[in-house]
Subunit: 440 residues, 2 copies
């Protein structure tokens, strides 16, 4: 028998849900991790024989899952959480969010807001997020520094904003940002055209060419409301997705956020082009923008990821709560109680999210050779008893507050509920300071 | 100036949301409580002058709200939590829930399951619940012993069950139970006819007469699915609600659970008779049984309460999570982002629940003269910052796990997260024991 191999970290857990193989829960197994990469998933007794870990953690009442992928959000907006709820969409944007953004958005606000958002995401089990907001340099630096995985999409819109003067300015700044993070293993820069109704054809055409050349993702709000689709049909004689497709913008690099309006032609287009859908159920409900036909998309072979959207329209960044909403809503909308089952929902929030971001070779499942992006959830409390099926309890009982440990690339971001790369007390203080400024 | 009055308890809190007056949040105030009754809601400084409390609690980062009213559930089913998820309704009932109930339901199982359910409910801020399950004597005794407020509805169905031989037996046992609890200030016994499709006219007619004579509530699953309504139209030539009305069973004593199918005639009937609707959004979604038109009911003046349903179709008994689902879903279903706002949702889970149970003179708001049924929620954590509006954070961010203190009639059921009338460790042990029996 050979000598035990030296490895950095061994994590033992009561349950491990690797996502691949599908629908499996391994009991009393362990994950062996070295140089940030998963080396093995094996029974604990075998792990004790095969490995001499530098560090060993025993999570006896916990489930390990791949770190969650929050595929749509506006992290900086966490400072506007709950500022203006329960309003019609136009009132919300015109009288509250946009004036507030005009007055307050700055590089410092985005930095503080993004750090607050990341702290909340880490504490509720998210290891990778996409972002689309002003001052993306701040979000990119913040993610890199906190050691989170992120796709930061620089915003592009046919209007001046606190971040710049217009599309040309945004593209220049965004391409420079892309260069700055070219070598990062954690942060990828993408294009964030705001929406079909706020970006003109000439700008979309530039984005289509550049994104293909650079192999960079394109993240766009698409078919969020019936009004958006009706307006497009009137103005362009076609639906927004078809318009983007004509300009070469529907591809596996494209992340279509919301898609509450999907007719047969849209479905065929998504399937044919390999564009991804990002489903944001709580935001769609809260803003009453429609119901994304998730099960129909999945049945057609379209990849669907999951996102919280920003805290101003949610009001949290908890992907467990979002999974519960997604799983329940898919059943109600499809009329099928077996739609989007618990395993499938967890996959949507992990591997399918990774796939949408082009990261499914690296993350999204607990397979040998993948990065050790891992979330541990404690399942010992009274309110998850009796526990017949850990995946059911994870998805259907809002487990965000039960997250205990989080690793990204083998580096601990959360240990026993304590943030390791961000200062929780300081962030709460900053959030309170911003509230006093904004809410006079 | 008169001497300070002796009172049992003074609770100071950062925020108090009394429900009445409506849409109000009082800051840095206190509740004075004596002999289980609210004596005053007043500024903390004034409270210090006016009262000499036997006990004083200072909750500096907390919101006080009326204890939540969970208006529909099957507490004993908590032992089946997550046992069979993601299945078509017929498979779920025929192949899983009913065989399991036939094999396992006993007085001991109901006692243990009800205590587990109550522990979960107390820990997530519920002070009053309705129940409808076998061996209601056990549920009634358990509630009385744990000092929870409850309406226990004894089940009536045209079939033998583990609890009895048929309708006559159920009525006899139920009336005896009603007598046993006639003098209880906490537990009220009601009639629980299962559903229009499982109870015959002659039995409903008896219930109508008895419930009016006894001034006892009637709790019934009604219009849960489109199929139920279609079948009734075929068999009886009328919709279930109309059929119940003809037998004198639609009145302010009637609690209509689910009501996902509501046409104009149903709406008029509910309004005219004063029958209450109990909305169970997560159960309706999970079983894909339809969408209750909550905002339309409210706009018509129908009283709508909120319930979790049993843990087998939810999978938790957390009314905060249920409030979030209700508030979000009402917006999506009505297409109005200003539907069921945060304050209105909190009222649905408190005062409107109390009204449905005929208890709105006693509980449901933090008004002088009402029972001190109070829930405290800590709002200091990072994931509720910045805090512009405590009611938004309570409703839209699943605050169940933030509940710290709970009182019923001035008696503490939860202090700093610790159960006072139930043994948490023992209940977890029992739940695990039942899992081992059931899940062989």
């Amino acid at each position: 028998m050979s000598a035990p191999a030296n490895i950095d970290l061994l994590i033992k857990a009561r349950w491990i849900v690797p996502i691949i193989p599908e629908n499996q829960v391994f009991e009393n197994c362990a994950l062996a991790i070295h140089k940030g990469v998963i080396q093995a998933l094996l029974p604990q007794e075998e792990a004790d024989k095969r490995y001499a870990p530098h560090q060993s953690i025993n999570l006896g009442d916990h489930a390990l899952i791949p770190g969650l992928v929050n595929a749509h959000g506006h992290a900086g907006m966490s400072l506007l959480r709950g500022y203006a709820d329960d309003l019609p969409l136009v009132t919300w944007l015109n009288e509250h969010i946009w004036p507030l953004e005009g007055q307050w958005v700055s590089d410092q606000m985005i930095r503080d807001g993004t750090e607050l958002a990341m702290a909340e995401m880490i504490k509720s089990g998210t290891t990778c997020f996409t972002d689309m907001y002003y001052f993306p340099e701040q979000a990119a630096q913040a993610a890199q520094q906190a050691h989170m995985r992120a796709q930061i999409n620089f915003p592009i819109i046919d209007a001046p904003t606190p971040w710049g003067s217009g599309p040309e300015d945004y593209l220049n700044k965004g391409l420079a940002l892309h260069d700055d993070f070219r070598s990062s293993s954690l942060v990828r820069i993408g294009f964030g055209p705001h929406a079909p109704y706020s970006v003109s054809n000439s700008v979309f055409e530039k984005i289509a060419v550049l994104s293909q050349e650079m192999d960079a993702p394109v993240h766009v709000h698409l078919h969020e409301t019936a009004q958006e689709v009706a307006d497009s049909e009137k103005e362009y004689g076609k639906r927004p997705a078809a318009r983007l497709h004509e300009m070469g913008l529907m591809s596996p690099l494209t992340q279509c956020v919301h898609m509450t309006q999907v007719n047969d032609a849209d479905l065929a287009l998504l399937k044919e082009t390999g564009a991804h859908v990002i489903h944001c159920p709580q935001s769609n409900l809260k803003l009453a923008t429609g119901f994304c036909p998730v099960q129909r998309l999945i049945d057609a072979g379209v990849n669907v990821a999951l996102g919280t959207d920003g805290a101003a329209s949610n009001n949290d960044l908890d992907m467990f709560s979002e999974m519960q909403s997604a799983a329940l809503l898919a059943k109600g909308v499809s009329g099928q109680p077996d739609a989007l089952n618990a395993h499938r929902t967890l996959r949507m929030a992990t591997l399918d999210g990774a796939k949408a971001l082009g990261l499914d070779d690296t993350i999204g499942s607990l397979e040998v050779g993948k990065a050790a992006d891992i979330t541990a959830v404690e399942l010992s409390a009274l309110d998850v008893q009796p526990l017949y099926n850990p995946v059911s309890q994870l998805v259907y009982t809002q487990s965000g507050h039960r997250v205990s440990h989080v690793w990204v690339g083998g580096k601990a971001l959360l240990l026993s509920g304590q943030l390791q790369t961000l200062n929780e007390r300081e962030l709460i203080g900053k959030a309170r300071w911003w509230r006093k400024q904004i809410d006079r």
